[in-house]
């Protein structure tokens, strides 16, 4: 559209809490190991959860540390640890799916725009900028509200507004790579366009794409939790971190742990993803 929105919008999704920007290799590896463990925990959440997350199994409103319920129970006696574990599973894999969808859609559009140039580039980037300048969160809310409340529609709603950021960044990288000497050399040597794109340009764009994506996961975690908090997610009684906080708000001043623990789980997820994004960036920068 105009030159200006890019100034900010290209960087509009800041890594919210980049604590380890200058972390060393060892710390970075440790953070990634922690993320790996988190992913395993999320993967096997059903096995790790001590109880059925939707069945009342204990006394009501047990405080954390109670016998058999390390994180306590909620107002109808469900085990908070089990609910939180499943909630983490849902949040974590949903966030990964969104970021992956952004990478794929944005990547295809960005590469196509960068490689073909000319009117294809102009048209695709116009389209991208249009989406980039819309209020993404609000549009996502409206999409989910129109399609109906469930996790699948929430993912669709966010995915629709999430890719333009990736398209912009990847297109920029493709452009800058296409102008490098090694691509010129390949062209002179008679390599086909397909070969140049997939052998000489796309591999060069991958590191930036990975760093962008890993720094973005924390944003998605927070957005998903926010939408879930508003009721735009799995309907009750399915465990979901944002929704579990919202549904138990009235207990804040009597049994604080019931609404607060799911929120703390979101904090841990978002913090770990932000640290992980920095770690990926540090490690990739060192490799170069």
């Amino acid at each position: 559209m105009t030159a200006l929105p890019e100034v900010g919008t290209r960087r509009f999704r800041m890594p919210a809490a980049s604590l380890g920007a200058h972390a060393g290799t060892r710390l970075s590896v440790a953070i990634l190991v922690a993320l790996g463990i988190l992913t395993l925990v999320a993967l096997f959440a059903r096995l790790l959860a001590p109880y059925d997350p939707v069945q009342p199994i204990g006394a009501l409103n047990l405080a954390p540390g109670a016998e058999g319920h390390p994180l306590g129970t909620d107002s109808i006696g469900r085990d908070i640890l089990s609910r939180t574990l499943i909630g983490v599973q849902v949040s974590w894999f949903s966030s990964l799916i969104i970021v992956a969808s952004g990478l794929v859609i944005g990547g295809l559009i960005g590469v196509a725009a960068g490689v073909f140039g000319g009117w294809v580039d102009a048209a695709l980037m116009r389209f991208t900028d249009l989406f980039l300048a819309l209020p993404g969160t609000l549009v996502a809310i409206a999409i989910v509200a129109a399609l109906g409340y469930n996790l699948q529609n929430t993912l669709i709603g966010i995915a629709v507004v999430w890719w333009p950021y990736y398209a912009r960044i990847i297109r920029g990288e493709v452009k800058s790579f296409a102008a490098r000497p090694h691509v010129e050399a390949a062209r002179v040597a008679g390599a086909s366009r397909t070969r140049i794109v997939f052998r000489h340009i796309v591999p060069g764009v991958v590191p930036t794409a990975i760093v962008t994506a890993s720094l973005d996961i924390g944003n998605v975690v927070l957005l998903l939790a926010g939408l879930s908090f508003l009721g735009l997610g799995q309907p009750a009684p399915a465990p979901e971190l944002g929704a579990d906080t919202a549904r138990n708000l009235s207990q804040l001043l009597s049994e604080w742990w019931v609404p607060v623990i799911p929120g703390l789980a979101v904090l841990v997820l978002s913090l770990l993803s932000n640290l992980g994004g920095d770690a990926v960036r540090t490690l990739l920068a060192k490799r170069r």
Partner: protein, 328 residues
Amino acid sequence: MFRFILRRTGSAVVLLLVLSAIIFVLQAVSPGDPVKAYLGANASPEAIAAKREELGLNAPLYAQYLRFIANLLHGDLGQSFRTHRPVLTDLQSFLPATLELVLFSFVVAVLLGVLFAVSGSLRLKGGALFRGPLLLLAAAPPFLLALGGIVLFYAQLGVLPASGRGVDSSSPTGFVVLDSIITGQPDAIGLTFQHLLLPGVVLAIAPAIAIGRILRSSLDVTMSADYVRTAESKGLTPFAVLRRHVVRNSIGPGLSMAGLQLGFMFAGVVVVEQIFSWPGIGNYLAGSIPVSDFPAIAGVTLVLGTVYIVTNAVVDILQVAADPRLAA
């Protein structure tokens, strides 16, 4: 400059049309029936058919879209399923509270962001004690911050209220702070500020970090310029260098990020308003979601989306006014 304003305004209008088209399409696929919103679930088939005709629902799609746009321009956003009032009437009564909260919060965000950037860039002693916790807080979901704030400042310390605006929202302009200043009620001003404080700060944390980080990196770049070293070596104090030589040359990116964040805050305000029972448009949206009140949700999306798009356009124009090189 004039050409830029024209172009930027034009692109904002295009964006508004796209936003309205998206809402129109979503409205068409949403399961709720607008006719029943007007007539209730027990209306006779004849009455329903008549109302369908009146609302233009039998016309072809493009005609319906034109009618939708015409209605929007007349301020007709349809009827809420929940309150059975025109959505516009609902929004008019809730918008001032939201504007007040967001603007207050924006000021807080800019102050915190500047403090973050300057303390980092000048390596002020103890600055890390401020930046570390702020970074940690920015990783938390806003609803968790809100709950923490309520537990600490309301339940434990008992120094701040946890819900509402403290006074009746139906004051003359709807902006209670403004009203209490106009009518000269110092008690009311204090009360409304107390109520603004928790939600305002919670909403400000994430934007503050975004502004602070951009500003800090542009400060750092300027600080390493040769003319700054010259200024330092002629004996100016760090603050004098900052004020006279650095700020003007590095404020641009911070301004553009601030404008962008102001736009985002209009979306982020929904969750915060709900938790603090702030009688604003976000709370209205939060209340409309559980009952699938699509006309209300669409109305809020359109109004907050318009505020967002207009804010961004104004910020862009202000930036070019400050630095004409950006118009290129």
